[in-house]
């Protein structure tokens, strides 16, 4: 049984202008799906659609419960007077009535899983980028959702955090959860179970073996350089000034 299924999914932020189209895929329990695509290719828009937040959407989406969403750490406020534990416990807000105290147990347990139990009391904005990313993942763990949507969780994080996050992905797979991970890292994507290539429309979906030079070229267009071995592709990052 698929935990996530999309059929003929299309939509965008303005009527008549699709940011994504022709999206059709299904992800099973225990699968990590790499969502590949250039900047502006529709990765975040796909997540918005799956969260039910895309203003104009067509097609069908089936989800096994409300998915948890892990934003890029740059999107979170760093000047906020909240601790790592405060952030992790936000994952319990929906199930805890306002007149009940939050149970700190699940938050501390989630921080333990991402290797940050000792930093539970630290101010979120004073953690490193990788640590902040792990705290946001801990927040998703507290939600205890069957499906996790992670927006470039490995971009720009330090090596220990990247290793911790990848180990956690394996553990979550073992629990039968489905992870959709937006990423630019083609090499990393090949290590996961499925890949979903987006460039405004769906270019490909399937096992990583489908990542042929042609698929990568169609996915990234001018943002990709395919090296002479025919297998290795390097995404070119654009920096706007």
């Amino acid at each position: 049984m698929s935990l996530v299924r999309a059929e003929a999914l299309a939509g965008g932020y303005r009527p008549g202008v699709d940011a994504i189209s022709e999206v059709a895929f299904a992800a099973e329990p225990g699968e990590v799906v790499a969502v590949l695509g250039p900047n502006g290719g529709g990765k975040s828009t796909l997540f918005r659609a799956l969260l039910g937040e895309l203003p104009h959407r067509r097609g069908t989406v089936e989800l096994a419960g409300r998915p948890a969403y892990v934003p890029q750490t740059e999107r979170a406020r760093l000047d906020f007077p909240v601790s790592a534990l405060d952030v992790a416990l936000m994952g319990a807000y929906a199930r805890t009535p306002f007149y009940r105290r939050l149970d700190r147990g699940p938050g501390l347990e989630a921080l333990e899983r991402v290797g940050l139990r000792d930093l539970a009391g630290e101010r979120f904005g004073e953690l490193s980028g990788g640590q902040r990313q792990r705290v946001l993942i801990a927040r998703a763990l507290v939600q205890d959702a069957p499906v996790l949507l992670l927006d470039e969780p490995l971009s720009g994080v330090d090596a220990p955090s990247a290793a911790s996050i990848e180990n956690l992905f394996e553990a979550l797979r073992g629990e039968g959860r489905t992870l959709l991970v937006a990423t630019h890292d083609v090499r990393q994507a090949r290590a996961w179970q499925k890949v979903l290539c987006l460039n405004a429309r769906q270019v490909a979906f399937g096992a990583p073996a489908c990542l042929s030079p042609e698929v990568l070229q169609a996915t990234y267009g001018g943002e990709l350089v395919v090296l002479p071995d025919g297998r290795t592709a390097v995404a070119v990052e654009h920096h706007e000034h």
């Binding site: 999107r75 007077p81 936000m90 807000y93 929906a94 949507l149």
Partner: protein
């Protein structure tokens, strides 16, 4: 000290300051965390024409201010288009001030009353003013207790808050409504131009050093009370208007804390 507060008008001023401090503690932290300082100032300024006509028309100033602020909100909604929101707000605020000044000087010939409308009259408050501030303070405390988590999640991570399963739209409307109500009830004491002195500056000051939200809220309430009472005593001793004295005191404290923190 007790002699200073022997007169009923000074006792009412003291009570009003303490009630406004409760409001500042309940809402000031959210105003700075949600970056609603300009909104707060806008509601106060937009209310100015309403305050001008309230006397001649024989209606409660708070009601007239509310009407003017609602008119401002409606006009801003119609004029604002995407990135032009700040420009639309600025143009409307200039228009509100100009309209208020015109009504005061040429239509109703309010004369010196304009100063009172712009900068408040802490020592000229009625029992109704105190009652309205008390009601707003209790309502703000109740809203903050019930919606603290929704406001915090929304302020911290606007992109991810809906995925947390936390309601967004109606808590947001209640927050904006609570801030607008706080501004309206504060107008009598601090006027159209100085509402930020009570509702924004103490919170902005405490935020420089507060490690968590609870400290920010409690600290804001305490600082607003201390600054207000201090300004009232200062105004009494040197015979100046309390509203501007509060602005000077709270501005100086903010500058001092910011300088020490660096």
């Amino acid at each position: 000290m007790t002699e200073v507060f022997s007169a009923p008008y000074m006792q009412r001023a003291l009570v009003e300051i303490l009630l406004l401090a409760v409001l500042a503690g309940a809402l000031g932290g959210w105003i700075v965390l949600r970056r609603l300082a300009f909104f707060t100032h806008s509601v106060g300024t937009a209310a100015f024409p309403g305050l001008v006509v309230a006397g001649p028309w024989g209606i409660a100033p708070q009601l007239a201010a509310l009407g003017a602020a609602l008119g401002f909100a409606g006009a801003r909604e119609r004029l604002a288009r995407g990135d032009d929101e700040d420009a639309a707000t600025g143009i409307l605020l200039v228009g509100a001030l100009a309209l208020g000044a015109l009504l005061a000087s040429d239509v109703y010939e309010s004369g010196a009353g304009v100063d009172r409308l712009l900068f408040g009259t802490l020592i000229g408050l009625s029992d109704r003013d105190l009652l309205l501030t008390a009601i707003a303070a209790v309502a703000a405390l109740a809203a903050g207790a019930a919606l603290r988590r929704a406001w915090l999640a929304r302020a911290f991570d606007p992109d991810g808050v809906r995925a947390l399963g936390v309601p967004v739209a109606w808590p947001e409307r209640i927050l904006l409504g609570a801030v607008a109500a706080a501004v309206i009830v504060a107008l009598a004491a601090v006027g159209a131009l100085l509402v930020s002195v009570v509702l924004v500056v103490p919170a902005a000051t405490v935020r420089l050093v507060a490690p968590d939200l609870r400290t920010l809220q409690l600290g804001t309430g305490v600082l607003a009370a201390v600054e207000g009472v201090g300004a009232l005593l200062l105004a009494y001793s040197v015979n100046v208007s309390p509203g501007p004295a509060m602005a000077v005191v709270s501005g100086a404290v903010f500058a001092l804390v910011a300088a020490v923190r660096r």
